[in-house]
Every structure is written in C-alpha cells, then in structure tokens.
C-alpha cells in the first residue's frame, strides 16, 4: 500500500500585497507632509471659524508668547528684505552693528526677541547658541518704549512695492497689553490690515454664518 504523504503546508505568507499597501501609504504621506518648522517659541494659537489658508510668501510675523513677550521675524527666503530691515534699524537706532552681526540676522531661523540694547550681543551668538537660547526678554512694546514700531517700519521700508503679509501669531494665554502694544506699533506705521494666525474650527450650527454657508454665500471677509 502506498504511503499517503500529507503535503506539508507552507507557512510562507505572500507579503507582496502588504508591501504594496505600505508603500502606497508611504508615498501618500511623503507627498502630503509638510514639516513642522522648528519653533523657537512654543505658541498655542486660538481657533477661529476662518477658513482662509495663510500666505506663505513675504511673511512678516509677529509672535506673542504665552508670557506676553513679543518676537519679530521675517520669512527665510526674503534675505534681501531682511538685509534692508537690519540696515534700516541699524541706521535709525545707531546700533553700529558689524557685518558679521548683520549676517547673523539674515541667517536661517533668526527670530528677534531682544530689545535694541541687547541686539548686538544677541547677534554675536552662534547658531547653536541661538537655538539653545531660551531666556528671550522680548521686544518692548509698552507705551513708553515701543521698539516693535521700528522693526515694523523697517519691514515696511524693505517690502516697499511688494505685498507684505503681516501676521500676528499669539498664544492663547497672552494678555491684552502685549497685543495692544503690537496693534499700536502697526497703527503707527499705518499698517491697518493684518492677519491673525489661528487654528481651524467648525462653524456652530444655527448661527448666521452657518446659515449663509449653507446657502452657499461666499463671504468676502473670510
């Protein structure tokens, strides 16, 4: 009698399908991802119903930290404008900054969070020192000494003839006086239009805006 031989079943699982799925997802995430820019100051923005995406070009960003300290920076790619801003501020305030210090301002990730009196020594720091620099005193914005006005003026001069996207990014816990100081600095430079960076939020049902959204009315202000 012939021996009945049970064929040994292979435990090999075909991984091809799984690989396909994995790499499909991978390519999706690679293509859609936008890296979080390393933030020097952690800011938790409030939410709003606004659906307008923020502009990415020619950004002049004023950040208000949770402790009410104010910071100023210009987007990385606008090196020419950055150069003009620092030249303008240097001239106006007679800071006598060296070329190396000016170059430090143009350097990537250069966020300004110090008064003019400390600007020179702050710009002397190397890139590594800046990234570990935690104790920013912030730009003074009080009514007696609003240094942000000068920075905004510099930005206005530098971006002359171009559209400048003025943005204010404030932390939830920042108090009104800092924001008031920022508004004052902008007003003094006749910069009456600006954008507040917020995180998206749904429109509550039953409200007027919700109704007009339902009716398909495009709101120009949004």
């Amino acid at each position: 009698m012939p021996k009945v031989k049970m064929p040994r079943k292979s435990t090999f699982v075909d991984m091809t399908a799984m690989t396909d799925v994995a790499f499909l997802l991978l390519s999706f995430f690679i293509l859609t991802t936008k890296f979080k820019s390393p933030e020097v100051i952690e800011v938790e923005t409030p939410s709003s119903v606004s659906t307008k995406a923020i502009e990415a070009k020619n950004v002049v960003l004023i950040t208000i930290g949770s402790d009410g300290k104010v910071y100023f920076n210009v987007s990385e790619e606008n090196t020419g404008e950055k150069e003009r801003i620092i030249d303008f501020v240097n001239e106006q305030k007679q800071l006598n900054l060296s070329d190396a210090q000016k170059a430090a301002f143009k350097r990537a990730g250069g966020i300004i969070g110090v008064p003019f009196t400390q600007l020179g020594s702050y710009l002397n720091l190397s890139a590594e020192q800046v990234s570990s620099f935690k104790e920013f005193p912030g730009i003074p914005v009080d009514s007696t000494n609003n240094e942000l006005t000068m920075w905004v003026r510099g930005a206005v001069e530098a971006f002359k003839g171009q559209t400048m996207n003025l943005m204010v990014k404030g932390d939830n816990k920042a108090k009104y006086p800092s924001f008031q100081g920022v508004i004052k600095a902008l007003k003094e430079n006749d910069q009456l239009k600006f954008q507040l960076i917020t995180s998206p939020e749904g429109v509550p049902e039953g409200t007027d805006l919700w109704r007009s959204n339902m009716a398909g009315v495009k709101n120009e202000e949004q």
């Binding site: 799984m18 995180s199 409200t207």
Partner: protein
C-alpha cells in the same frame, strides 16, 4: 523568517546523484514591509494635518479730525468688555449713570446677547464695540472677533476701555487684584 523548510530533502533520486537544488523565486518581503511601516509611522507623526488659518483684521485709522470719525448711533451700539477668566461685561447703548444696564455674562452666552441685539436693531445702526481689559487674554480677543464673523456682525471695533468702565469691572470682581 516566515517560511519553514518544506523541501523534503533527498530520497527520490537515490544516493550519489547530485541534485541541483531548485531555488525559489520568492523573495521574503517581510523586512521591506517592516521598513515601509516604519517610514509610514515616521511621516504620520511628523506631518501637520491641520494647516493654520488666517483671520483678517482691519483696524480703523486713528484720526483727530471730528468729521472723519465714524459716528456711532448710541442706541445701536453694544459694548462688550472682556475681563479676567472669560468673564464678559456688556451694556447696550450708553452706560447709565448708575451702571444699571451694566451686565455680566460669559463666552457661552454672549452669542445670544449679540444675536438679540442684532435682531432688535436697525442694521444700519448696529455696531459692536469691543473693549478688552488688561486682564483679557489673546484667546478671549480672538474668540470675540470670531463671534463677530460667526454672527455676521458687519461693523465692530476694537477700542480702548474707559477708566470709568474699568472701575465698574473692578468693583464687580472682573479684574485681578494687581
């Protein structure tokens, strides 16, 4: 790894016969899957899904000239003052001498106050005046501005609070002691 050796070694061809072992064309893809998922996890964690949005704010120009100033019909005005801990003080029209129309509410109920005022006022005259106290947080301000767009309030202004109002709020416990 996920494969057991199933080739029954030997036998059939007899001893001495050199057997050319048939190599499988199947490649073990497990490490590739591992790598794929590792990268997926990485990208999932680093990606920012909700893009920040921008809320536009237009400020009125400060002007000394009387004729350039926007006149607000007093009856159509709703003044909203933002105090500490999300407290909101408000009054309609002008503040009464004795402060009798000075009321307190919070962020949950302010919407109905705005809507009621909006419904009961001539749209031409309706204006909301927002006055943050020094104790108001940035979140409060953005929330109330957001409330303006939610309720489609066309005219609103962010202005300085009057000392008299600040005093009333202080009495009502809407300010921190400092």
């Amino acid at each position: 790894m996920a494969e057991l050796d199933t080739s029954s070694s030997g036998g059939k061809k007899g001893p001495g016969v050199k057997k050319g072992k048939k190599l499988s064309t199947r490649v073990d893809l497990t490490p590739m899957v591992d790598l794929g998922f590792l990268l997926i996890t990485f990208f999932i964690f680093t990606t920012t899904m909700s893009q920040p949005t921008a809320m536009k704010l237009f400020l009125p120009k400060d002007t000394e000239k009387q004729e350039e100033q926007n006149k607000v019909k007093e009856s159509g005005a709703l003044s909203i003052m933002l105090a500490n801990d999300g407290k909101i003080f408000y009054y309609e029209g002008t503040l009464a001498e004795d402060g009798s129309n000075f009321q307190v509410t919070n962020f949950n109920d302010i919407r109905s106050v705005i809507v009621n005022k909006k419904r009961s006022t001539n749209p031409e005259d309706f204006v909301v005046v927002i006055k943050p106290t020094p104790d108001a947080t940035y979140k409060n301000i953005v929330d109330i501005l957001d409330e303006m767009s939610i309720n489609e309030v066309k005219r609103y202004a962010l202005v300085e609070i009057f000392p008299q109002e600040l005093e009333l709020i202080k009495v009502a416990g809407g300010l921190s002691t400092n």
